[in-house]
Amino acid sequence: MKIPSSTRRNFTAGLLGSTSFWMYGGHKVWADALQSEGALAYKPQYFNHEEWQFINAACARIFPADAHGPDGALLGAPEFIDRQMDTPYGHGQLWYMSGPFRAGAPNLGYQLPLPPRDLYRQAIAAANMYVRDHHQGQVFAQLAAPEQIAVLKAFEQGKMMLGDVPAHAFFEQLRQNTLEGVFSDPLYGGNKGLAGWTLLGFPGARADFMDWVNQKGAPYPFGPVSMSGETA
């Protein structure tokens, strides 16, 4: 992605200060750049239209836009999640998936027979059904942001089931995958413009701090680099 040079300067300034770069002027330029070449152009390969709308809305609520920068949807988390669905992870090939499947105490961990891709498919359909029941036939993506937040909180904290999936298990899946998308290497479709890493001050693939082992509390001065050499 091409970032206007004025934004680059602001970014460096932000890293050196205690507030992130986004507080400085010019961030609108970046948001526009993200909008025009980033997240919205992607065509989902796994999720259907309704699921895609749901994921986009949820990513934006879990990782919201604020003074620090754009939301998780704009940073490509939905694209990341969609692409993950067709990996060994998405297919559940990294997990022990032999039966019998029995419910147990939560501290004994995940016990559903569903790999992530099936979990999303079931739970999103059930989640939209739940929202239709409570919001005059609207689906999650059609709700206003405060209502979406309330629904996600209900999933996070409630004891309800979404199909075979406990709502809190679905919420945690969504939360984790959104954050993975925002903070993984842009190779995987998220963290557009390295904005996730810039937010935290994480330098990405630099991975050489020979001269920076102990700077007595000073911030590390260099911005992030991706594995492919992209800089912010």
């Binding site: 990782f63 016990q111 935290l200 082992v213 102990n214 594995m227």
Partner: protein, 592 residues
């Protein structure tokens, strides 16, 4: 099926297996090492930049055991039904050449000598009644003086960085004053200290504790080990725990032993070879070899040998013994048998301190083994009399390199939100301006905490999974709470703006969903009494004398220190006695 015969078979290509294979080929034996995972070489897996990819690495567990083929089941109590550990979380076993030794962190301890004879010491100091009902407190049957040469050897092979306290009885440095005497210096000077660790050092010292540099198997400088293999200087890249080191700076079997071993024509490494069981003769007194599944062809292969080394990692060792019928399985109700008895773990809790917005902790800078610790509350270094518990914890800042996905999923800590409004603000503050302090402590053995075969679940090859029956107990919870209480003054002395103390809660149950450590122990413990140990003090099976079982499975209780230094020393100790005694006259080295 092809029948072949070699002198020795080594099961598993991790630290324990590689050490035994090296020693046995040096002794002139033909050795086949069987590893169920893939071939792994640092030149490939550690290739920059693909090696430093957090998603593929620590998040999707690139170098870890793939649970789809085999896992364990877990329950907390005897009356519960155990359920499979379906997703990696609480502990992260390795797979492939190097085992967990390829993706470990590198904190490289010796042992607290008191821990080797913990039962004897506790009874001598506090009396027999001090030991709680149901706790199986035991001695190792070996002393620090006997093991010292092997700790020294392991450090030289690993290229360990550290600062000594005494060498041959004389003060030689500003190292850990609770550490036992050494016969030689560390091969490399201590690692540099990141900002967080240096703050901890001065604060701990101001409070009156005795901080020291963690001994690290991360090379503080260029190094050539006794096998002639080279390590480069660690650059604190921060992709340490969970990754293959692209700098050749973190000790691993792959970097520190296998390059020398692979050149020996008497040595053969077979990968994708999953050992199903050790084969025994009719009266179960001698092993004849092993049966393994060639995962490439799906053929079962029988391989015969005079000597079998089980070094497949702590709980895999116990699993293989149970599947093979070596020794008598432990029964917690009757309190009979030894295989699976004294299964232990470690307690670990993390506290966090936030500094002023002007202080950047740069959490991404770090090395897996580097840091500053105190031992004032470890082992028997303090008076347990008025406290009424057994055990202790080192406390440390061990900034191993915090990457953003793990940090973001873990959340900002304290009472801050884990998503949505306010999350980013709090996350930025935590990531830029906080540091963590761990209490990394012991865990004792109990009569109703053990390993056996699961009655319901199988692995991909039709064998029963190993079942863990494990829970936290009052003794260890109180120990953890006591030691964490000692962290508070350090945090205050650091000038933290706020802090949160992490500790085990009263009655807390073991949670398989949260990463703790991969420092599991026991289940095939060493000792002097065959009624309470599986293997003798040379790590030789009491029941099948040509089988040696090497790993943290030998620990009678979980110690405060990280296990690998002790595992490596025990491996060299066992190998020495195999070479000098056993091979001359094969048979039991200790009469039962």
């Amino acid at each position: 099926m092809c029948a072949k015969k070699v002198d020795a078979i080594v099961i598993g290509a991790g630290w324990a297996g590689s050490i035994l294979a090296k020693e046995l080929t040096e002794a002139g034996l033909s050795v086949v090492m069987l590893e169920r995972g893939d071939e792994r070489a640092t030149a490939v897996e550690g290739d920059y930049p693909s090696s430093i990819d957090e998603l593929r690495g620590a998040i999707r567990h690139r170098l870890f055991q793939n649970l789809s083929q085999s896992t364990v089941t877990i329950r907390n109590t005897l009356d519960q039904e155990a359920l499979p550990y379906r997703r990696l979380a609480a502990f992260l076993p390795g797979e492939g050449v190097g085992g967990a030794g390829l993706h470990w962190s590198g904190v490289h301890f010796r042992v607290a000598p008191d821990d080797l004879a913990l039962r004897t010491n506790v009874v001598a100091r506090y009396g027999k009644n001090f030991i709680p009902e149901g706790m199986n407190l035991q001695d190792y049957g070996v002393t620090y003086e006997e093991l010292e040469p092997f700790f020294d050897k392991a450090e030289k092979v690993f290229g360990t960085s550290g600062e000594p306290y005494t060498i041959n009885g004389k003060i030689a440095g500003n190292g850990n004053r609770f550490a036992p005497d050494r016969s030689d210096a560390f091969p490399l000077p201590a690692m540099g200290e990141v900002y967080s660790a240096s703050l901890f050092r001065s604060a701990a010292s101001n409070v009156g504790y005795h901080p020291y540099a963690l001994p690290a198997a991360n090379a503080s400088a260029q190094y050539t080990n006794p096998y002639g293999v080279q390590m480069g200087p660690c650059n604190f890249c921060g992709y340490c725990s969970g990754y293959d080191c692209y700098m050749y700076s973190k000790a691993s079997p792959n970097v520190n032993i296998l390059p020398a071993l692979r050149q020996d024509p008497k040595f053969t490494l077979i990968t994708k070879a999953h050992v199903l069981k050790v084969n025994l003769d009719a009266d179960k007194k001698k092993a004849t070899g092993v049966s393994y599944l060639d995962l490439r062809t799906r053929q079962q292969v029988e391989l015969d040998a005079d000597l079998v080394i089980i070094s497949a990692f702590q709980f895999h060792n116990v699993h293989l013994m149970l599947l093979s019928g070596i020794g008598q399985p432990y029964d917690p109700k009757q309190n009979t048998g030894t295989v699976g008895r004294n299964f232990v773990y470690q307690t670990i809790t993390t506290s966090r301190a936030w500094l002023s917005p002007k202080q950047y902790t740069n959490l991404f800078v770090g090395a897996g083994g580097a840091g500053v610790a105190i031992d004032d509350f470890n082992s028997m270094n303090f008076d347990h009399g008025p406290l009424g518990f057994v055990g202790g914890s080192p406390v440390w800042v061990n900034q191993a390199g915090v990457k953003p996905i793990a940090a973001a999923i873990g959340g900002p800590g304290g009472k801050a939100p884990t998503w949505g409004e306010g999350y980013k603000d709090a996350m930025v503050d935590t990531y830029r301006h906080s540091l963590t302090i761990d209490a990394h402590g012991s865990n004792m053995a109990y009569r109703d905490v053990y390993l056996d075969l699961d009655p319901t679940y199988n692995n991909a090859y039709g064998q029963p999974l190993l079942r863990m029956t494990f829970n936290w107990k009052d003794n260890d919870i109180r120990m953890n709470q006591y030691v964490v209480g000692k962290i508070e003054p350090i945090i205050k002395a650091m000038g933290a703006t706020k802090y949160s103390l992490g500790m085990l809660k009263d009655g807390e149950v073991f949670d398989t969903r949260r990463y703790q450590t991969t420092h599991l122990g026991g289940g095939a413990v060493m000792g002097t009494d065959p009624k309470t140990s599986c293997i003798n003090r040379y790590l030789q099976s009491w029941d099948v004398s040509n089988v040696f079982v090497i790993g943290a499975s030998a620990f009678p209780q979980g110690m405060g220190y990280n296990p690998t230094g002790m595992v490596a020393a025990l491996a060299y100790w066992a190998a020495y006695h195999i070479r000098t005694t056993y091979l001359k006259n094969p048979g039991p080295m200790v009469q039962a």
